[in-house]
Symmetry: C2
Subunit: 337 residues, 2 copies
């Protein structure tokens, strides 16, 4: 069943059917209704590939979730999940479709093939990973691209994200105020976002003359198992640890599990702070202190900026979302250790 068939059934030309289904005013109200009804009756839907080809209009957006060969399955992070949900909703609401694509993080510019092939109108990339350079190159080729991540100096592409540097500072100040002094850090500073969090965090500690030796920093991907293992290692290296800043809520939760296993209480013995404020953070036990990244606003912003870039044909400036610390139980004891 195709447009020509429907045209025959309706006794009109295909062009009229095309216009009618598109709701064009050029077709009389009556004909329009008649054709639409007929289409519904016969389960006819306009072929998307043909429309796309002829009109050049494409209303699908590629959402790229890179994976790292090394740390198999980077899809386990609840923050990432929330972001995908938020993007799906934002795109659907604006009448766009969402193509979910996984590519190798070592080869981020494979994402540009989506656009070159006319597959998607634009691309939303989740995370900068280790390839700032590739992203810059893509933006300079004029590819419509928006990245969830942190804003780096002199950056040519558009990012949306929280103020990671500030976030790190907030955590450090909070833990210091809680009287903690032997503070560890969990996260992979090879990733720009994490690096910024670490930078803000380390700055404040330094300004307060609190040491942050290397042994208090465990490099670990966003995976629960890895987090647990890393936390145990951290405790081994520094048994007197009294607080941990995990660069993601998933890591924070895994860390809490490990701390419990080692016989420590949270927050009494060790305070834990996460990053993201995923939905479960408020329902975890103990409820998780964390830096809130407004996920819903983030998804909406990514979509809106990308769509505006498509319309205007130019790269728009990056955005930093409101970033604040949400203090809950995991870091807040009446009597700090």
């Amino acid at each position: 069943m195709q447009m020509a068939d429907l045209a025959r059934l309706a006794g009109v030309a295909p062009s009229t059917v095309s216009r009618a289904l598109a709701g064009s005013e050029l077709v009389s109200q009556e004909t329009r209704e008649r054709i639409k009804t007929l289409a519904r009756q016969f389960n006819y839907t306009v072929n998307r590939a043909a429309t796309n080809l002829r009109s050049g209009i494409n209303r699908t957006i590629g959402v790229v979730v890179p994976y790292e060969q090394a740390s198999r399955q980077s899809f386990a992070d609840p923050f990432l999940h929330g972001m995908i949900g938020s993007l799906a909703d934002a795109l659907t609401q604006r009448g766009y479709e969402m193509l979910l694509v996984r590519i190798d993080a070592e080869n981020l510019d494979a994402a540009s093939a989506l656009i070159d092939a006319g597959r998607t109108a634009g691309v939303i990339l989740i995370g900068q990973w280790r390839h700032h350079d590739q992203l810059t190159a893509m933006a300079e080729r004029g590819l419509p691209l928006v990245v969830w991540g942190t804003q780096l100096p002199g950056q040519r592409y558009c990012t949306v994200g929280s103020d990671n540097h500030l976030g790190g500072q907030l955590v450090a100040r909070h833990l210091l105020a809680e009287g903690r002094r032997r503070i560890g850090f969990l996260g992979d500073i090879g990733l720009p976002e994490v690096a910024e969090r670490y930078r803000g965090f380390a700055e404040v500690l330094k300004a307060n003359k609190v040491a942050l030796p290397d042994r208090r920093h465990a490099s670990v991907p966003f995976l629960a198992d890895a987090g647990r293992v890393a936390m145990h290692a951290l405790l081994e290296a520094e048994p007197e640890l009294d607080a941990v800043f995990a660069s993601g809520d998933l890591l924070a939760m895994a860390a809490i599990g490990a701390l419990r296993e080692s016989g420590r209480r949270v927050p009494e013995d060790v305070a834990v702070v996460g990053y993201d404020d995923v939905e479960l953070a408020a329902h975890f036990s103990p409820q998780l202190t964390t830096v809130r990244q407004p996920i819903h606003e983030g998804g909406t912003a990514l979509v809106e900026i990308l769509l505006e870039m498509l319309e205007r044909g130019e790269v728009l400036p990056s955005i930093q979302l409101e970033t604040r610390l949400v203090v809950r139980q995991s870091s807040h004891s009446g009597e700090p250790a």
Copy 2:
């Protein structure tokens, strides 16, 4: 830049370029290499809409995640998230693309438009929701469709899922063995999967002459907040509750939070069992006892069955995945209450 341009650059006909890029043996090895190199140099990628239109081949699959108007944002469930990740990986690995689509759960057959429009080759639907009838109608129209859900008697479409009935039984037996007698249930039995879990659960209780009055059953969607509220309500109605079976891990976690708030200990005062075994279940505290749904296998099975259905052009039989109880801390106390 399109195929004709590349043909001109290479000094050959477009047809040759087409064959070369498709890796056809009809083109000499040498020409093929030359054209491929040229294409790479100029960032040329074959237009997908055109290919799709002409060849009729479509390698994208629609993954449909329904939402319920009533319980806003059904995208918060970690099990759902894991499933999406698993599907994305399985599809990518087989060279398919994944279109993530949200539709109104009241109108599931909107999913068929994806296929009618040639947008996707087939559809994977997550959850049966309340519209068994619509799904049956779709399958009878011959739409390539696979559903994550539970197998219902006389069903005409293909489902993949755990053995929900067995799962419910396992939970009941376990809780009884732990000495629990006043057991509550959290979940919406309007959903077939949950209904089956409840059926198995209730059967075993009945067979053991343990009462399951209505006041011990709270109907609640898969949302953390709702779970928390429902758990409090359950405690109000039945303060002596000594166990809860939550029909999803998210609900179980929320329930544990609520139990703590009410001053009860888990598992000493109240045992909690979930369903799904999401990744975090093992890292929660207390570690969550739950019925394992093998998510990775599930995603793989959904994809493989759908692809085979596309190939064979017929509906394949449903599958029930291995279903077992994973006993962890949340339900297992040395001395049951």
